[in-house]
């Protein structure tokens, strides 16, 4: 069994790229991050339950949704981790699933302080 390896070459949060994507609209950026903060725990929970019960279709679906959100926000490392889980779900690869989930959870947890900090600054 091969342990999932963190893709350290990808940036955790490519802020410049994200600003391009939102066309420098800071208000939109704030709204998107707020949606992420609100919705990602629900999707992570759904993914966690799917992993726990080895429901591979649901693993694929939940990690696909998370991958979409993370990619749109240029959270590249976490998006890669979600893409990895999506692949495992698609190919019904159960070995290493929990480690892959842990890696994704860690990546998302690492992002949250940055998200919170941006949202706090935006509120001022």
């Amino acid at each position: 069994m091969q342990k999932p390896v963190q893709n350290m070459t990808a940036p955790a949060f490519n802020f410049a790229n994200l600003l391009d994507r939102v066309e420098n609209d800071r208000e939109l950026l704030r709204d998107l991050l707020a949606i992420f903060k609100q919705d990602s725990p629900r999707h992570l929970l759904s993914l966690k339950e799917a992993v726990l019960h080895s429901e591979m279709k649901q693993v694929q679906a939940s990690s696909h949704t998370l991958k979409g959100m993370l990619s749109n926000l240029s959270m590249d490392r976490a998006a890669d981790a979600a893409a990895n889980l999506e692949q495992m779900g698609r190919h019904e690869e159960r070995a290493g699933l929990k480690d892959a989930l842990t890696l994704l959870e860690q990546e998302v947890a690492d992002l949250m302080p940055m998200v919170d900090s941006y949202l706090q600054r935006a509120r001022r």
């Binding site: 994507r21 066309e23 939109l28 709204d31 949606i35 992420f36 949704t65 979409g68 749109n72 926000l73």
Partner: protein, 322 residues
């Protein structure tokens, strides 16, 4: 221009919605494939769509297939949004009826450029449809009056005769001719003659019901098919139509020109299964009788004029001063 964004991820919807609103689009959103298909299949639904590949209820390719199957009136340009990059997936998406695809997350400039391409294709389609409709109209309508042309009015009459025979209903044929029209042309010129014919066409159309047919049968001759109108009403209807022409002179570029029309009337009650040519000949004979009676009047055809199964003698044409 309206555009539909279908994505189950509200973050993605919000991002695309804002970018496209800024680019001047009116955005409609759908949270799943079923909602998207319903919106796009409405006759007045959006004609541009961005569809996420993976959606609950119905996926992006499923939406494309449904729209191609159900919406025939106008083309919808559909772009699939996908993180799938394999050739096989792209082929599958395009085969489902999608016009294009974009890899997520989308670059805003590329997204807008692809949508402009879609709009160009839709504009081209609109021009082709408009040209086809113009050609269809010109092939079926008289260019001067805008009424059905001779071929079409006879075809419609033929269909109506089959229908009333099947349903044992009734219908009436009116053949009208402008009295002394040659005099109008000789006195005021052909341009004024055309203006008179145009106004007569307008009045004829205004005098009949929406489900009746009016056509230009010849130079100054018109054929009117009064659907589901029995013999007892046909003459009264013909009189109303005649009065609509006679009551007010026609305003032309050379001043007011007074015109009248004579009508021959034939009602289905009075005929058995006869060929169309016989019926027209008999209506024409009634029109001739109206002319002979002093014009500006209506005469009902007597259907025993000709033996069934043979063509009537050519009594209406020679030397008739219309």
């Amino acid at each position: 221009m309206n555009i539909l964004i279908a994505d189950d991820d509200r973050l993605s919807r919000k991002l695309l919605e804002k970018i496209l609103q800024r680019a001047g689009y009116d955005v409609i959103t759908a949270e799943n494939g079923r909602q998207a298909a319903e919106q796009l299949c409405r006759p007045d639904g959006p004609r541009l769509a961005l569809l996420d590949w993976m959606m609950p209820e119905l996926d992006g390719p499923g939406v494309c297939r449904e729209v191609r199957r159900l919406r025939n009136l106008s083309y919808v340009h559909m772009i699939l949004l996908t993180s799938k990059e394999s050739k096989q997936d792209v082929v599958q998406g395009l085969q489902s009826g999608a016009d294009d695809y974009l890899i997520k997350p989308c670059d805003p400039e590329e997204l807008k450029a692809r949508l402009r391409t879609g709009q160009r294709i839709l504009q081209l389609e609109d021009k082709l449809v408009e040209a086809r409709e113009d050609m269809r109209f010109n092939a079926t309508h008289d260019t001067l009056t805008g009424l059905f042309n001779r071929g079409v009015i006879l075809d419609l009459l033929g269909r109506e005769l089959v229908r009333i025979q099947r349903e044992q209903g009734c219908t009436s044929i009116l053949m009208g001719d402008v009295d002394y029209f040659k005099k109008v042309n000789d006195t005021y010129g052909h341009m004024v003659g055309d203006e008179v014919l145009e106004e007569i066409a307008r009045r004829l159309l205004a005098s009949v019901r929406s489900y009746d047919f009016v056509g230009r049968y010849g130079g100054e001759e018109f054929l009117i098919v009064l659907n589901s109108c029995n013999a007892s009403f046909a003459l009264a209807r013909a009189e109303e139509i005649r009065k609509s022409i006679a009551q007010d002179p026609v305003q032309t570029s050379r001043g007011l020109v007074a015109v009248t029309m004579s009508f021959g009337v034939l009602s289905s009650k009075d005929w058995e299964a006869r060929p169309l040519e016989h019926l027209l000949r008999e209506t024409d004979v009634a029109l001739y009788a109206a002319k002979a009676a002093g014009r500006n009047c209506c005469k009902v055809a007597k259907c025993d004029s000709f033996p069934q199964g043979s063509l009537a003698p050519q009594q209406a044409s020679p030397g008739r001063a219309r």
